[in-house]
Amino acid sequence: MTVKNLTDTRSNLFRNLTRFREFGIIIFILILAVIVSLRAPVFFTLGNFRDILLDISILVIVALAQTMVILTHGIDLSVGSSISLVAMMVTYTIKTYPNTSLVVIVLLGMALGAVLGAFNGLIIAVGKVPPIIATLGTLSIYRGMVFLYSQGYWISPYQLPEAFKMLAKGTPLGIPNIIIFAIVVAILVYYFLNYTRTGRDIYAVGSNPDAAQYVGIRKQQIIFLVYVLTGVAVGLAGVLWASRFESAETSTALGFELQTVAASIVGGVSISGGVGTVPGVLLGALALGMINNAVTLVRISPFWEQAAQGLLILVAVVSDILITRRVQRNKAK
């Protein structure tokens, strides 16, 4: 039947294009790696690779959460402020009660994050406020709370116990814990998005909210959930941030929300929802981390770093638009 043949060619074409989407970022990473290693051979060493992974671990954790939000056609701009608030609150707790167990600290951070995320979720899912507005508001509110809570003071390394500092950089398993945390989060999110109904519901809600509702998916609950989950991830990230940098300041994670959005988008997550994969986001975070690393290694002025990252985001978004257009044109034929 001709109709069937048509579908086959269309879907093959589309499969190739989606594959290309992640291919594109892989090719970028490879080209960047070759260029940088020509200028700075140290790039291709295990030590440097470890540095890059260390640098992007927290980014991976939060970008994966951000991805879930973007999949529902939302965005969470408050993650940077939330990280700062969680970092500040847990380090104050440790300063006051130095004997608190690390498990309790991590759980406390995740619980705090969940509360902040739930507040976002309530405004968006129940109050029906557009996510970009709601989280722009909480971005300022949460940052303001950091100042109020800390009275402008910061927590310095000497105020933190050694055990807490080892939470991120300790290597009981041979590689730094913080990388392990990122890997575990990536596996959990991958499993959640691909092998649970709730995970698939996230894609459905982002892809076509009305359709999701017609089949009985509770849209508002799903939307609320992704912000809470993001809060939990942000809570973990806040604790790890304080541990890795051995401090908490009012300017902690300032502007970090944009990096998480960038990692998602560079990794092929569609800003209009419904499209995006965990491996893609991991590659996106890796690409950003490599730019960061390359700028240092090749001794380019750090001023270029942001510009390079911005360019990458634009390339990613423009190619996303071009692919979509191409697919639509093929469909129209």
Binding site: T7, S11, R197, Y203, A204, S207, V215, K333
Partner: protein, 502 residues
């Protein structure tokens, strides 16, 4: 036991202060195709949404197999065996065929993990049993409308639905696809499924429906056996009056050639299109959905300039590279998708109507508000737009009224050549007749009209000449006198012997 699987008794529903359903009763027998008929705004969609649990009735009862039921959300209705295929298709474009079928109820293992293997094998089994061949892993985004409907039907039957509601399933299908759909409908009926069928195309009711219930202005009018009722009678029941002349085409003596297209091609989309259009003439363009008719119109209008061929307007060779240029040459194009191309939904009727000619209402860059509103008011009145005021936001109008606003907008540019793309798709019989009468009047005034339509009665009833396209090629040209339904269908479905790069 009553004879009905589903019975609605005295259903009323209000939105705000407006009552959209007043005491509607409706009975559905097992194994019947029951058509629901009514003009836009008659309450069909609301009734469907009450049955499927999207809306809850303010008054009245619903009985399912003689049991009083109350659906507080769509999921409950689905679990009770009621499935619906809505006008706006409810697939997730980024998910694949198999997953869309089982959306929200993917099979899981004991541990709650989605069992993808089972999901694919079940989906395959379902589609095979429906006689549909689809790539299970194709994204819904890349399916044709007919294929999307197959997925929705499969979804309905994955739930063991015994009541299937189809809301205008044929409005975007080609003739072949409609035939295939009807075959499926008949098979489901013979297996005992009760089907509620909504369509604006009366011919289709006579083809598949057993009984028909007519609604008008939110009230129940009558239920008839389809075989005992005539087309005219149905129209009368629907509009509450007799529409004497469905296609009021006036005989106009064609004038000079207004538009001449020679060997127009757009690589990969359409090839070698040539025709003439005279003043006062209505040239119908028939063919299947996707035959390239809209692309030809868009090319002429400068949206996607052609790659080869020439266009002459009033005997002058022109190269149209933008819609603005086309408008300046006296062309107007009323697109198929009103929401997408024809209207700015968030703007008022006035702003929509005067949009293409704003500069006429501006002196030194400032808009003359009063003049603009007066012009819009006259245009809207001439088109009989039904609205509270001309400040009403276009989105809030019914489909038929939106179409009138789009027409008013383009007529305000005083076009000499008017291209209408599916001018009456999805609008009700009454409005349709009004649009047809208007077209006829415009032609009588000497405007040249190119009308793209997938509705054969409309093409046959309104055109002076008919041009048929198939897969990007012209496959037939007929005068009003020689055209018949069969000839057009043949031309619209034939395959091209010469072949091409398609």
């Amino acid at each position: 036991m009553s004879e009905y699987v589903l019975e609605l008794k005295n259903i009323s529903k209000r939105f705000g202060g407006v009552e959209v359903l007043h005491g509607v009763s409706f009975g559905l027998r097992p194994g019947e195709v029951h058509a629901l008929l009514g003009e836009n705004g008659a309450g069909k969609s609301t009734l469907i949404k009450v049955i499927t649990g999207i809306h809850q009735p303010d008054e009245g009862e619903i009985y399912l197999n003689d049991k009083h039921v109350h659906f507080s959300d769509p999921l409950q209705a689905r679990l009770a065996g009621i499935a619906a295929i809505y006008q706006e298709l409810s697939l997730c474009p980024d998910l694949n065929v198999a997953e869309n079928i089982f959306l929200g109820r993917q099979p899981t293992t004991v541990g709650g993990r989605i069992d993808w293997r089972k999901l694919y094998s079940e989906a395959d089994r379902l589609l095979t049993s429906l006689g549909v061949h689809l790539d299970l892993k194709a994204k819904a985004r890349n399916l044709s409308i007919a294929q999307m409907q197959s997925v929705e039907i499969a979804r309905a039957f994955s739930l063991n639905a015994h009541i299937l509601i189809m809301d205008e399933p044929t409005s975007s299908l080609t003739l072949n696809e409609v035939a295939e759909l009807f075959e499926l409908v008949r098979r489901l009926r013979s297996e005992g499924t009760a089907i509620i069928f909504i369509s604006h195309r009366l011919e289709e009711l006579f083809e598949v429906a057993d009984r028909v219930t007519v609604l008008r202005d939110g009230s129940y009018v009558d239920t008839r056996q389809v075989k005992d009722v005539s087309r005219d009678e149905l129209v009368r029941l629907m509009v509450g009056r007799t529409i004497s002349n469905l296609f009021p085409k006036q005989v106009v003596k064609p004038g000079e050639i207004a538009l001449k297209v020679d060997h127009l091609s757009c690589a990969g989309i359409f090839e070698d299109i040539s025709f003439e259009l005279r003043k006062g003439e209505i040239l119908g363009m028939a063919g299947l959905v996707g035959a390239g008719r809209t692309d030809v119109a868009r090319s002429i209008f400068g949206v996607v300039p052609p790659t080869r061929g020439t266009i002459q307007v009033d005997g002058q060779l022109v190269k149209i590279t933008s819609p603005q240029q086309a408008i300046d040459l006296g062309l107007a194009y009323v697109p198929e998708d009103r929401q997408l191309h024809g209207l700015i939904p968030a703007m008022s009727i006035t702003s929509n109507i005067t949009l293409p000619i704003l500069k006429e209402y501006a002196t030194r860059g400032w808009l003359q508000d009063k003049v603009e509103r007066a012009a819009a008011f006259n245009a809207a009145r001439q088109m009989e737009v039904r609205a509270n005021s001309i400040s009403q936001i276009a989105r809030t109008l019914s489909g038929g009224n939106q179409q009138k606003v789009v027409l008013a907008k383009w007529l305000s540019t005083k076009p000499r050549i008017l291209i209408l793309d599916e001018p009456t798709r999805g609008i009700d019989v009454g409005t349709k007749a009004a649009v047809h009468a208007l077209m006829s009047n415009l032609a009588a005034e000497g405007i040249a009209i190119l009308m793209i339509s997938s509705e054969l009665p409309e093409v046959l009833g309104m055109s002076d000449r008919i041009l048929v396209m198939h897969e990007g090629h012209m496959t037939g040209q007929f005068t009003r006198a020689e055209a018949t339904q069969e000839k057009i269908i043949n031309a619209a479905t034939q395959t091209i012997a010469t072949g091409s790069a398609m």
